[in-house]
Amino acid sequence: MGGKVTCTLGEVKNRADLIIYWGGNPAECHPRHFTKYTLMPKGKFVPEGRKGRTMVLVDIRETPSAKAADIFLQIRPGKDFEVLTILRALVKNRQIDETAVAETGLSLETLKDLAARMKRARFGVVFFGMGLSMTRGKHMNSAAVLTLAAELNAYTKFVCMPMRGHGNVTGSDMVLRWTTGFPFGTNLSRGYPRFNPGEFSTVDLIVRGDNDAALILGADPGATMPQPGIDHLGRIPTIVLDPKVTHTSRLSRVHITTAATGISAPGTAYRMDEIPLPLRPALKSPYPTDEEIIKRIRAAVAAKPAWTPAAIPARATA
């Protein structure tokens, strides 16, 4: 298993006739997704718009998104991986263990119908949310859904995309990838990038209390981290750059108010499909931008004696 078969959102708008949301609630979390990209638009090859598309929602509870769906499949909590694996088997016409099906909360007929719809689709897409990728099974659930989509390409056109959100998280991924090779969980303490999710990822680092300072930009971990992590951020010198007061800024040692990117500061934001969009500020702000602050911190740090590995011989001779 491995890999990712995906597309840009315009492909969905122009072609998709089967749209599956799995473990997400776009009606509340990505409120423009239906209207701009997936359900409502008249696409180049879906001229009838909503009528030309079938939407399936898979989740453990009935969220407001279910109203928009043609088919809502409520599965038992923690059974995503099993359902996905059964679907993979059904797509390939393999034998199914009926007791495994019974545990998922869905009937075999329902699953067979979904597998048949997937194979019959002209262009199918699965969007998966944190209800899949952050619940029991975690990255194995993501791998299962990505593999299902990849395998469907033996029968028809099928793609898959995570429903990313929280500001410009995709942009952060992209920049880290081209500068360090890794999307997150990157450790530069040896002077070059190392990657080890679980060891260097932010939540693990902070919950263990490994770091002795924190600079937080464009995030509010004080609202989402486990309590031991929040406690640790309150103990160490934490610096927050944010236009507004947040849970994190309240527990920080220093909060620098910055201009809001996209409203009063220019920049680039990446969509969930990794397409960059330019941001043009509509207003002026009395506050400096994130970029200005970081540049000034860098200049101040550069003025101090270097500790980097490359500079050690120079210091030894001095």
Partner: protein, 540 residues
């Protein structure tokens, strides 16, 4: 000011073949004479113009996708430690941007051409190119599966298509036009491919790959772009694709064209079991038709990362190898596929591929028309070019390597019979002078007065020249590599063109755009301010 004294200069563009002479540099360019400034004693050393990579994939959404897809590859990559004036990074088969600039420079290459830019994410490509230090950069925009252009070809509106292409090149801030698997990637949007050049592609009744190829070649010539149409032929990698490649050249007859990574298009046979090299057939045709240039796209055994806009081929490769598969279809424009790959010497197909790349480099007689590439990172990492140079210059070494291949493979190649040996001057042509000329970069690839002062100085040891480790590398007159250490240097330039078009074309594009794209028309063109040191070249 800089004087390089007493080096043996190889400057084939100016007919200089191993002449000991001083080179003088001022203001980033080669000049007739200088008084004062630094002097480098290059006596006993060899001087070549800085390398020009005409076809490489070093920046952009596809490469960044590959980086994220294979973090495990970096475990054995060369780390670059950050210092006061150097950025951290990792080498390996898909190096990070800063490492890419350092690795090219450390090898003596000073100009690179990023060969595949989707317009929708061109802004991203330029961000990465800005973070690729030292080297100068050019880039090619993907056009042969752009549905706005294909729709115009369907309606036989070639003039309108030319206006659209010109507008798109400027929107992407690119230097030239690339055609990848013409029509095949558009068909892939429906899970199909385009394998016959004369059959209409999926979703169209009159557009065939041949029509796209001929149309784009005409448009590129009409727009007088400095670099001809850069084409990745249909049926890449497939046994028997020689017929497609020859037919592509027939379709292109009368136009300029650059055929990319020709090795991947030089196969006979009708399946993996019968695959053989048809490099000699291809070279015969190529030798007789002088309006074409090509690059080798040679493979070397070891790790590779196949990254191409050729989506259907990548699906096939994923099915063949069972390895990870990345795919991104880009709305209305193109797609890309990614599959990690390892070329193995004992594998029959890989052995034939290895031989075919070298055969093309040896059988195409005019070094000014075939250039050294590995289609990085598809055939091998660019940092392995010195291995290829050795294989071309040292016949004994080549024969030794050939002996290690499976016997069955030897019957499918003529490499054992070839005893051509590249001279240093030939190497200067295929790595620098030739690709610079094919790109239309007049100040690159030579060391005459007025040329950009980009050059590499190699020490000559008892075992010959160590091409992987130049003694000095000069870029725009600055010493950027000395004693194997990359030194901080100014950022490289970005070359682009501004082909002429009627502004009214925007009235045609705007409503169409709002209908089929998900980005607004005004956000689509890359702003000039995003490029560092842009250098707009004339279309003459």
């Amino acid at each position: 000011m800089l004087r390089i004294a007493g080096g043996r200069v190889y400057d084939p563009a100016n007919g200089i073949d191993g002449v000991v002479q001083d080179l003088c540099i001022d203001g980033g360019r080669v000049v007739g004479d200088v008084h004062g400034g630094r002097s480098i004693d290059a006596s006993g050393m060899v001087i070549l113009p800085g390398g020009v990579d005409i076809h490489t994939h070093v920046a952009g959404a596809a490469l960044n996708f590959a980086r994220g897809l294979t973090p495990e590859n970096y475990r054995k990559a060369v780390p670059f430690l950050h210092g006061p004036e150097r950025r951290a990074g990792l080498g390996g088969i898909t190096p990070t941007t800063f490492a890419t600039g350092y690795l090219y420079a450390a090898m003596g290459w000073t100009t690179v051409n990023e060969a595949a830019v989707p317009i929708l994410s061109a802004r991203h490509t330029h961000e990465e190119l800005r973070d690729t230090p030292v080297v100068d950069k050019a880039s090619l925009v993907l056009m042969a599966n752009n549905e706005i252009v294909l729709d115009l070809l369907e309606a036989d509106e070639l003039e309108q298509a030319r206006e659209v292409v010109a507008w798109l090149i400027w929107a992407a801030k690119c230097y030239g036009v690339k055609a990848v698997n013409p029509g095949g990637v558009a068909a892939w949007k429906w899970g199909k491919n385009a394998s016959n050049l004369h059959e209409p592609i999926e979703g169209y009744s009159r557009v065939t790959p041949a029509k796209i190829i001929a149309g784009l070649a005409q448009i590129v010539d009409d727009l007088r772009l400095p670099h001809p149409l850069h084409i990745h032929c249909n049926n890449l990698g497939i046994p028997g694709n020689i017929s497609t490649t020859l037919e592509t050249m027939r379709v292109l007859d009368g136009h300029r064209a650059h055929l990319a990574h020709l090795q991947f298009h030089a196969y006979g046979g009708d399946g993996w079991g019968t695959m053989r090299s048809e490099a000699s057939t291809l070279a015969d045709y190529f030798n007789a038709h002088t309006s074409f240039s090509c690059d080798a796209g040679a493979i070397l055994f070891g790790d590779a990362m196949t990254i191409t806009a050729d989506g259907p081929w990548q699906h096939l490769l994923h099915q063949l190898t069972g390895r990870k598969w990345g795919n991104v279809d880009v709305e209305n424009e193109t797609g890309c596929g990614i599959v990690p790959y390892v070329y193995k010497g004992h594998n029959l197909v890989n052995a034939v591929q290895w031989a075919a790349g070298l055969e093309l480099l040896l059988l195409i007689k005019d070094p000014w028309r075939i250039f050294l590439t590995t289609d990085h990172p598809n055939g091998a990492g660019f940092w392995r070019y010195p291995e290829l140079i050795r294989l071309l210059m040292d016949v004994e070494h080549r024969r030794d390597c050939l002996k290690k291949l499976p016997k069955r493979a030897l019957r499918r190649t003529v490499l054992a019979d070839l005893d051509r040996k590249y001279t240093l001057s030939d190497i200067a042509v295929v790595t620098s002078a030739g690709p610079a000329r094919a790109l239309g970069l007049t100040a690159k690839g030579h060391l005459g007065v007025g040329a950009d002062a980009d050059l590499a100085i190699y020490a000559q040891g008892p075992d010959g020249i160590s091409f992987g480790r130049p003694r000095y590398v000069i870029k725009e007159g600055q010493v950027v590599v000395e004693d194997g250490e990359v030194r901080p240097a100014s950022e490289g330039r970005e070359f682009l063109v501004r082909p002429s078009y009627d502004e009214k074309i925007e009235e045609y594009l705007r409503p169409l755009f709002q209908k089929v794209y998900t980005m607004s028309f005004d956000n689509y063109p890359v702003e000039m301010e995003r490029l560092t040191r842009p250098d707009v070249r004339a279309c003459e």
